[in-house]
Symmetry: C2
Subunit: 478 residues, 2 copies
């Protein structure tokens, strides 16, 4: 698996020597192996490794120079953003021979075109920073996720998030890219034109989306911006169970059409563990229910709130009359989203979470969830299932919790078997084993298992075309 | 340019002989060269050629068999939908050696998943037919264009249309594809899963979007559906000139946010020629203006019309007070869209139209348009410029009309020089020389001229990877 083993130490020395004195790369931008690299050696998914060095270029020319040197010396480069991925794609392996190229010092917002509603931002710009700068103009980049990735990481994972229903994923909002290719010249491909319609041949930027830095290092991107919401109604619903969620979703779509912005379903156990670990949060209702839905109706058109509130009340009354919901609460968005966003940290406090980022046709989601819960109860009665997710787009975050006192008893083999069984169930229900995080070492076995041989073959050939010396990234699509 | 010349007649005979008696391909589905092929030999852009044969398969297995035979005998296949493209990509060249594979008999809607809002449709299904079948469910595939393409053609061109602002282009609404590859096995790649989140490696379906059948023959697609509009306000505005259009657009975006669905700008000359040639149409105003805008505010949420109408009236009053509009008329959508949709046929009645399907950053569009008009007036005073387009997404349809009595006087060389000069101006304004129709023989010279060498090199290598024997399509990306 690791081509690193064949790289002699002298290659690394030669590589690092070439970087000395480059424009856009000060001595302080090159961290030798050791403690200085530690912050770059693990991610929020607790994936960790050992870097041969960490390089922190400040401009695209420096990335190109690094690439030239890496190709010449046969060094494996791992592009890294803000380490918020869940599959380990941006972390060096354990060999100590892979070099991290962190884009975190490429943080310029190169230009904002307000009339065009577009921005050109470098790969290291954080989503939060971008949106902070756009807010005074009532604009934002509308990918809404719990973590705070860099733009390059967003592209590498093709993030989706909670409002995909309305805004689409990163691919839908990407107008252009600038990338450095893994060739002897470190060629810079500049495709940054802020055009919404542009069909002048193969759309090469698509190759870089969702492929975790395996096709080149994205150094900047042109992003389509949306106006910030000016009208918003957020509500929290108690449902009799997951089976009712689809009918409730369809009723909301019928009533609110494209103004339905988010429809997140949270299981009863998931809400309970969140409240237990974050005592400052309050249960919205007196009695617990089968599951819950966090619903947001929103628009960047101002002045709709009175009408939206009235329509929502009418709809909720109907749903209540049909016993499709048990209870409902209105409130500002800030009062309900923490109930959902604090779920992953809450679970992490009680043990080892096994996370599954999966997606389904909406029509299959509830059936999968119920079958997974039953299977777990029979096969692993000591483990608890927590699920929440973007019901409206078929996305589901499923977390199986190994309580602290069970981790050792389970052991790695049984955990792997459990993961494999869940993914098998996902695929039997027509689902995706990686909804929003791409492929990395943590889910690569499932790529090999569930991808059609011909698709793997074409993918490997494409990757070989773009990176013939296997300089880039953690994963080969083979 | 034509590899066809080296194909001996015996190759064609061998190819056709192999097709006889195949399942899914009756004798009546194979049209030999000659008059039977005529309906498949020209398109709405008046691009024409001569087919060696036309094959009309009825299922994917037949397409695969045709591909196997084509690869074995070295036959060039041109995939064809409903011949509504503008660049000639789906028409055989003049050599009489290329075989048209028309998808027009693959017209099954394989399945509709209402809960998932998705459909699996074969490549030959017409957009109009698909939407007719979806209408009772209040759903549609939201690509809104004047012509009536087949699903396969929509994908090959990555069509955008008048409501891209709100719904995006075909790529944004494509969940999956099934395609037959140009290899010895005629491999069928089935990627039809109706998933909105699915990042399990390289998203191969992207290769088939906007590449006009050069990467494989798309036989079916999974499409994301949207709910039909339930609220709609359409208005027609008289503006002092193109320079005011951007401010008016931004004012509409501020007032209506994401409910702004279309903002089409039409020049005064364009409206005049439409009215002159379609006497049943009426000018919405007593006096003519610098240019016009057709604006649509819409949502699939019902019940918004009173509020939208009130807000629109208030906004129009403000714009009038600021002299940004001269006049405005409300009416049902059907009363205004014909003023825009009948422009191309109106122009065709008065001479030879030279059409340019281009796009810009919105901030550049008016400047380009004015410069193009001035240039034409100086250099070609006998020719008239007509422009209309999707101002809100930067798209612009520019038509230069050669009156009937000038066509001969101009001649082909001068026409080519004129086209080149306009495209040069497009690129100087940061624009795209092909917004919505991809690359075909009609605009291939501009691909060669305006595409960066490295992009051309990668594109050619990708195409070679997917079609090493150059079996598919009219254009090689080189």
């Amino acid at each position: 698996m690791q081509s690193a083993a064949i790289i002699p130490a002298s290659a690394l020395d030669g590589f690092l020597a070439e970087l000395t004195g480059l424009d856009g790369l000060a001595a302080a931008d090159i961290l030798p192996a050791g403690s200085a690299c530690a912050p770059y050696e693990s991610d929020i998914a607790n994936c960790s490794g050992k870097a041969a060095a960490v390089i922190l270029p400040r401009d695209t020319a420096a990335v190109s120079a690094i690439m030239r040197a890496a190709v010449r010396h046969g060094i494996r480069l791992i592009a890294q953003g803000n380490r918020s991925g869940l599959v380990g794609a941006a972390i060096a392996d354990g060999s100590g021979t892979q070099v991290i190229i962190s884009l975190s010092r490429m943080r310029q917002i190169r230009s904002i075109d307000l009339a065009n509603r577009s921005v050109i931002a470098e790969a290291g710009v954080l989503l939060s920073e971008l949106n902070r700068q756009l807010e005074p103009q009532s604009l934002h980049f509308p990918i809404d996720i719990g973590s705070d990735p860099a733009i390059g990481g967003l592209i590498g994972a093709n993030a989706g998030g909670s409002r995909l229903l309305r805004h689409g994923d990163v691919r839908h909002n990407l107008l252009g890219i600038e990338a450095v290719l893994a060739d002897a010249d470190g060629t810079v491909v500049e495709l940054l034109a802020p055009l919404r319609k542009n069909n002048t041949g193969i759309d090469l930027k698509q190759l870089f989306v969702g492929t975790g830095g395996a096709f080149g290092i994205v150094t900047a991107a042109t992003l389509d911006l949306k106006r910030l919401d000016q009208s918003n109604q957020t509500m929290f619903l108690a449902l009799p169970g997951h089976a009712a969620a689809l009918d409730v979703l369809l009723a909301f779509e019928q009533t609110f059409g494209d103004l339905l912005c988010a429809f997140e379903v949270i299981s009863a156990a998931a809400l309970d563990i969140t409240l237990r670990n974050f005592p400052a949060l309050r249960h919205p209702f007196d009695a617990s229910a089968g599951c819950y839905a966090l619903v947001e109706i929103a628009s960047s058109m101002p002045g709709l709130n009175p009408l939206l509130a009235q329509q929502a009340e009418d709809l909720l009354e109907q749903l209540h009359g049909r016993e499709q919901i048990a209870n409902a609460a209105f409130g500002p968005a800030e009062s309900f989203w923490p109930l959902r966003d604090n779920l992953p940290p809450a679970i992490a406090k009680e043990g080892l979470p096994l996370s599954f980022d999966v997606a389904f046709p909406r029509s299959q989601l509830a059936a999968f969830r119920d079958e997974a819960a039953q299977w777990l109860q029979h096969q692993h009665p000591l483990l608890q299932l927590y699920d929440f997710g973007h019901f409206a787009d078929g996305g589901c975050h499923l977390i199986v919790l190994l309580p602290h006192d069970q981790v050792e008893r389970y052991g790695i083999a049984r955990i792997v078997a459990l993961r494999s069984a869940i993914y098998q169930l996902v695929c039997e229900h027509g689902g995706s084993f990686s909804a929003e995080h791409g492929i990395g070492p943590l889910n690569a076995p499932y790529y090999r298992k569930y991808t059609a041989p011909k698709v793997k073959q074409i993918s490997a050939a494409l990757q070989h075309l773009m990176d013939p010396q296997a300089v880039l990234g953690r994963y080969r699509y083979s």
